[in-house]
Symmetry: C2
Subunit: 350 residues, 2 copies
């Protein structure tokens, strides 16, 4: 089992995703600032994983705080949360994870400070366990959507490495394979950061699921040749109307899938669904360093002086989404209704 | 002026496109085998450029031949042509260039052997001059299709570096800019070989045409945001019905353009039109080494043992093509009629 995020006495431990697939190394962050850096530099990435990573960062920061009393600790908590919230803007799980830690703090703040600290660590660890359970549940709900034999295209990495284990999109594929389906995966390499070739291929290879890496440019022709039976991707944020922010290139795959009559599924835990954001146009899209585009593995591939853009995500309008697979069930259009119906009562009625 | 291909007394000289944009170096091929290697390894690439490169390879091989008489020289010619024809399968210009050299040989074979040799060199040099003239003419025909102000997306490199100068798709953009239009170019990086980021950006920067490099995954979102006003690409082979084989990823851009109501233009000299191939399904698609996908700049990006595919081209069905820009004029659907109407009488009636 790949340990993407782990709480240890020494700090929060991550498999270093910037070094995969050629080096399997681990990083232990001893302060919340180091956790924030790990999120920012994509040592840890994937919406569900960074939600839990941020929660563990909060627990770590509060544990390390020298605050003399509850009021000071609360001030520290707020600062820690602000720093972690500023790391990446698109994945809503980050804000969800931080919010949940703040709520837990408030819930337990009548207790002695050592108890508050313990409760926050326990809450973050609980979120990790819940994430894995959600992915397994998503897998059970989604497996039936995939054909009993065929090829599934995925994008970026929505696997064990994007979560605390098992994966969202790859969890659905794993569950389908575990149920006896004979599936082959096409992994789009996912420029610029190459999560598909570096991470998805690595973890599926470990599981013995047959995988073929292609450049992102090749997905269209594979679809047109009838070689792709379904597309399954993860999400960084799902708006209330079902619009999906996910890794750049997802919209392209959704358009190609529609054009070729192929089902396009999104697998995401309910913590990725943001009912407070009405549609995709309201989702902030992170622009990352141009160096991710201009250089690969330290080698310059564009001439000096040329312009570069690097939006890390795009928005796929809900019209292209065949179904959204969550741990609470599979929903279809109209998403404004079907997503809200899955929400706990207090959220749905707010 | 960039000299992509050049005849010199020492041999055929190429700018080494595998070294750009960080090194501007030149390679002189002294034998036809070296020319074949340069085509195979993509020191020279781009359909029109490799047509002329192959013709110069034929001229070089015949010049160097030790054949004692015409019959032996003809046997050498056929062997030289077979070696050059086996370098790359998709771009029809390669076969067109070789065919034209064989026809010239037959035409002049009554002359003394030194004259035959001179005639072949002259023919290859004539083809180079004609290629530049065709591109300039294509530019004049196509410039009017582009908006007076806006952003044009192109793919791969269909510029001076893909031809003997000026370019096909980039020739149209250059002509539009020369006519006073205010254009900005989005250059898709074009994985796996990165012709967009390495070559298109490099040559447009030299011309002072504002250019932004994006990963191929970003084109869709740029279109959806209304930031792309037209797409112009080159071609490696245009079938009689207007289906277009071009660099892998072209089909994806055509589908995205259609979905977003954006014009999709193909610029190609008539030597790229293959009236003997009825439709795109008959065009052979080159599969290149998996290493182009698994490694970038010598650095491994996929784990050992995973499957890889690397089709170098795809086919865009004619339904997606707004117009085809040739040196003989701009044609639109139905392409079966409009393309044939441009052919010289002997081809059209065959």
């Amino acid at each position: 089992m790949i340990k993407t995020v782990e709480w240890t006495d020494a700090g929060v431990r991550f498999i270093d995703q910037t070094k995969l697939p050629t080096e399997e190394t681990y990083v232990t962050c001893k302060t919340y600032e180091e956790v924030a850096d790990a999120i920012r530099t994509m040592i840890v990435r994937g919406a569900p994983a960074i939600g839990v990573a941020a929660a563990m960062g909060v627990a770590l920061g509060v544990r390390n705080s020298q605050a003399p009393g509850l009021a000071a600790l609360k001030r520290d908590l707020n600062h820690i949360c602000d720093v972690l919230a500023a790391t990446r803007p698109t994945a809503v799980n980050l804000f969800w994870g931080i919010r949940r830690m703040k709520d837990k703090f408030d819930e337990v703040s009548a207790q002695p400070i050592p108890e508050v600290r313990r409760a926050l660590v326990a809450e973050a660890c609980q979120m990790l366990a819940e994430d894995i359970a959600a992915n397994e549940s998503m897998g059970k709900h989604g497996a039936g959507l995939l054909p009993s034999r065929g090829s599934i295209l995925t994008h970026c990495n929505a696997g064990a490495l994007a979560t605390c284990g098992y994966g969202t999109a790859l969890g659905v594929i794993r569950a389908a394979v575990d149920s006896g389906k004979k599936l082959h995966v096409f992994a789009g390499e996912t420029r610029p950061f190459l999560q598909g070739s570096r991470l998805t291929a690595w973890e599926l290879l470990k599981d013995g699921i047959p995988t073929t890496v292609i450049s992102d440019n090749m997905a269209g022709t594979m679809m047109r040749q009838g070689r792709i039976d379904a597309v399954v991707v993860g999400a960084d944020r799902v708006a209330a109307n079902g619009d999906v922010a996910n890794k750049i290139g997802t919209y392209t795959l959704a358009v190609l899938a529609k054009e070729n009559g192929i089902s396009f599924y999104v697998a995401a835990p309910f913590s990725t669904v943001d009912l407070d954001t009405p549609d995709g146009s309201q989702i902030p899209i992170e622009q990352r360093s141009s160096k991710e585009v201009t250089h690969i593995a330290g080698k310059q591939i564009t001439p000096d002086g040329v312009g570069v853009e690097n939006p890390a995500f795009d928005v796929t309008p809900h019209q292209y989404v065949t179904a959204i697979i969550t741990e609470r069930g599979v929903v279809r259009a109209p998403y404004n209704e079907s997503l809200r119906a899955l929400a706990p009562v207090e959220t749905a009625s707010k």
